[in-house]
């Protein structure tokens, strides 16, 4: 009796807490409720990245009496080799993962096949029943648009965290908060109705981009075709709203499929539009000319004597094609993209002035796009400039920028001289459906509205019959732009080898709504910016104008005189008017 009493006291009093805990642990388990990541959509709500249900298929090895038979049964359904499955089924583990992130249809097929197999068995064949398979629910990331916005969106790693692109830079916002619940455990199965203390999983915040999927597709196809036909190493197209900085399309080629990344190199996963830098070439002349007009050093009709080649600091600089001396206006210099003419315009500015305007246009500084891995480009300080730096910089070489920076320069001209930082984020959607728009972008005045208008008028001549990019003209619309065919620096040889062909423009020229930049790196054969970039620009801009229902402005332009002869003729015909302008 005394021993009995002592035992009772021992169990009920002294060790009561530990026994209670032991019992609870035997009976109860805590499971995690996985939270889905937020969705990334385009501006119209079309999903570009979303979390979908997936099933991790696990087995209880100790419940598999015949691994070989079970492997042969499951292999065709799971699409896995029999030998691999046999190895996975052999052992005494209660939990063994055999298939990660299976589509629910695969699990359903397996479950149905097992059910059919077991139902068809004779009662005497009870030991041939298959019972060891269990599903564990999880979320996987799916990219419905495949390769469409691959370098921008990026992807998640095995643990479900963002690894590249926006999936990485916005990871903390997109990631949800897991919930949990406890349940009573009976022979390894959850006892129905025993769940308690449920903390609901909270889905991540969804991101709405400024990207328009349809425009993105047109841009992607156009640049992919151009890169393929020119055997170029890569190409980008960026479509931007100059007033808001919103990026409607951000296409790169080559690209990769986000849903199938097994054989993708790290190089292919880069975002070249913000990570790759190059010397812009003639598209940089816009900044030199805009600065000179802003400083009242030249007007659109100032006449220069343009030689084929010019010597500065012991080095000769020349135009693309040999020619006799020409008397061209500033507009004419831009239309034919004369290097020597632009050097002469640039010499009207001091080195500090030229450097400052380039900096104000965004060269050598971040655009503020927030895109991961963005490069600032390279613009050396004036103190490092040699005698040949200023002339080189004037016509667009000797400094480097990204395609995003180049687009921003032209967007500044299109936006009446105000540079707005680009963005791809329109806003965020909480799990409850509330949409919060992104903050307005920062802006900075670079040149006056009057100067911007003059430069726009001059740029229209580039797409005229006298310009370098008639292939970029869109019938019915006023289009302005500039071609670029820059010598390309090759890291491997440490020399200039190959070209960067580009065309950047906007439409309608007198009331610009969208800016499009086309950049093609290292094309083989014909490598001119107008020849390669112009048609891509036209294809994409035509689609943008149609899909956004932008009608032509209906205004007519009086062409600006490109040379002294036309200037004198224009002055003779209209002695009281200037020789340029739009009606």
């Amino acid at each position: 009796m005394a021993i009995f009493v002592a035992k009772v006291i021992w169990v009920q009093v002294i060790t009561a807490n530990s026994i209670r805990t032991w019992a609870v642990n035997e009976m109860e388990n805590v499971a995690t409720l996985q939270a889905p990541r937020g969705t990334i959509t385009d501006v119209n709500g079309v999903a570009l990245a979303k979390s979908v249900n997936a099933i991790n298929i696990v087995v209880d090895q100790s419940a598999i009496s015949n691994p070989a038979f079970t492997a042969k049964f499951a292999a065709p359904i799971l699409g896995m080799p029999v030998s691999e499955l046999k190895t996975l089924f052999t052992g005494e583990l209660k939990w063994k993962l055999i298939y990660r992130n299976a589509k629910p249809a695969v699990w359903t097929a397996l479950k149905n096949a097992i059910s059919e197999h077991n139902s068809a068995l004779d009662p005497k064949e009870f030991d041939q029943r298959i019972t060891a398979f269990y599903p564990e629910r999880a979320y996987i990331r799916e990219y419905p648009s495949g390769s469409l916005v691959a370098s921008l969106i990026g992807f998640v790693n095995q643990e479900g965290n963002g690894a590249t692109g926006l999936e990485s830079s916005m990871n903390s916002i997109i990631t949800g908060t897991n919930g949990k619940y406890s349940y009573a455990n009976g022979y390894g199965a959850e006892i129905p109705g025993s769940q308690s203390e449920i903390i609901a999983a909270k889905a991540g915040t969804s991101i709405r981009l400024t990207i328009d999927r349809d425009i993105q597709w047109v841009a992607s196809k156009a640049i992919a075709d151009a890169v393929k036909s020119s055997r170029a190493s890569s190409g980008t197209v960026i479509v931007m709203d100059p007033k808001t900085g919103a990026i409607l399309a951000h296409a790169t080629a080559p690209t990769f499929n986000l849903n199938n990344r097994d054989s993708i190199s790290l190089a292919a996963m880069r975002n070249p539009s913000v990570q790759d830098v190059y010397e812009p070439g003639s598209t940089g002349k816009i900044m030199t000319i805009a600065a000179a007009i802003e400083e009242n050093k030249v007007t659109p009709t100032t006449v220069f004597t343009i030689p084929y080649k010019i010597k500065r600091a012991g080095t000769f600089f020349h135009d693309h094609e040999p020619h006799a001396k020409q008397r061209l206006t500033t507009s004419g210099i831009l239309a034919v993209s004369s290097n020597t003419g632009t050097i002469m315009i640039g010499e009207k500015l001091t080195n500090n002035q030229l450097h400052d305007y380039l900096t104000k246009f965004g060269i050598g500084i971040s655009t503020g796009s927030g895109l991961p891995g963005e490069s600032r480009g390279i613009l050396r300080p004036v103190s490092d400039w040699s005698g040949t730096t200023a002339p080189t910089v004037a016509f667009g070489q000797g400094y480097s920028l990204t395609a995003m920076q180049a687009t921003s320069v032209f967007a500044t001209i299109a936006n009446n001289g105000v540079r707005v930082s680009p963005t791809v984020i329109a806003g965020t959607n909480e799990a409850n459906g509330n949409f919060t728009p992104a903050k307005s972008r920062t802006s900075e005045r670079v040149i006056s509205a009057e100067t911007a208008q003059k430069v726009r008028l001059m740029m229209e001549s580039v797409v005229s019959g006298n310009g370098t990019a008639p292939s970029a003209a869109i019938p019915g619309y006023r289009v302005a732009g500039k071609t670029g065919t820059a010598s390309r620096y090759n890291d491997i040889c440490g020399c200039y080898s190959g070209y960067t062909a580009s065309f950047i423009g906007f439409a309608p020229a007198d009331a610009p709504r969208y800016v499009i930049s086309v950049t093609i790196q290292d094309p083989k054969g014909m490598h001119w910016g107008g020849y390669l970039g112009g048609p891509v620009f036209k294809k994409v801009m035509s689609f943008v104008l149609e899909s956004k229902h932008i009608a032509p402005t209906g205004t007519k332009i009086v062409p600006i005189a490109l040379n002294e002869k036309d200037l004198n003729k224009a002055k003779a015909n209209k002695p009281t008017n200037s020789a340029s302008g739009a009606l």
Binding site: A47, V52, N53, K103, P104, A105, T108, R137, E142, P144, S145, P192, G193, S194, R213, D214, W217, V218, K221, I474, P475, G476, Y477, S542, L545, E546, P552
Partner: protein
Amino acid sequence: MAITALAPAISRSKQKVIERSSEVALRLVPKLDIDKRADQKVFILFLTGIGALGLVALLFINTLLAQDAFKLSKLQLEARLLTDQREAYIRQLDRISSPMALAAAATEMGMKPSANPAFLNLDEPLVPTAEAVAGGSIG
């Protein structure tokens, strides 16, 4: 008549109450014979019956609760399957409605992307000629 005249009657009443109370008190304790003890079996049976009824009732209530729990579990499983199906349909729809699929379907139908934007001139007849459409202007 003075109240004090009643004193002897009161004393006699008190004596009678005392005697009767004793008799009553004595009567409360019956004289027990061995063969006249109270029967416990009925009481035990009664308690057992109550206990059994209680257990049955408890079992019944638990069964009802458990039934709903199984039903809930079944419905939750059904909901998950329907969610999976819904996602599969959405995936199919995404594929069909993608720009690539639409372009391929249009090409199959013999349509071609227009080279230039086309314009409708409302002052002219609205039915265009094929040449006008190919040339990028209508009317």
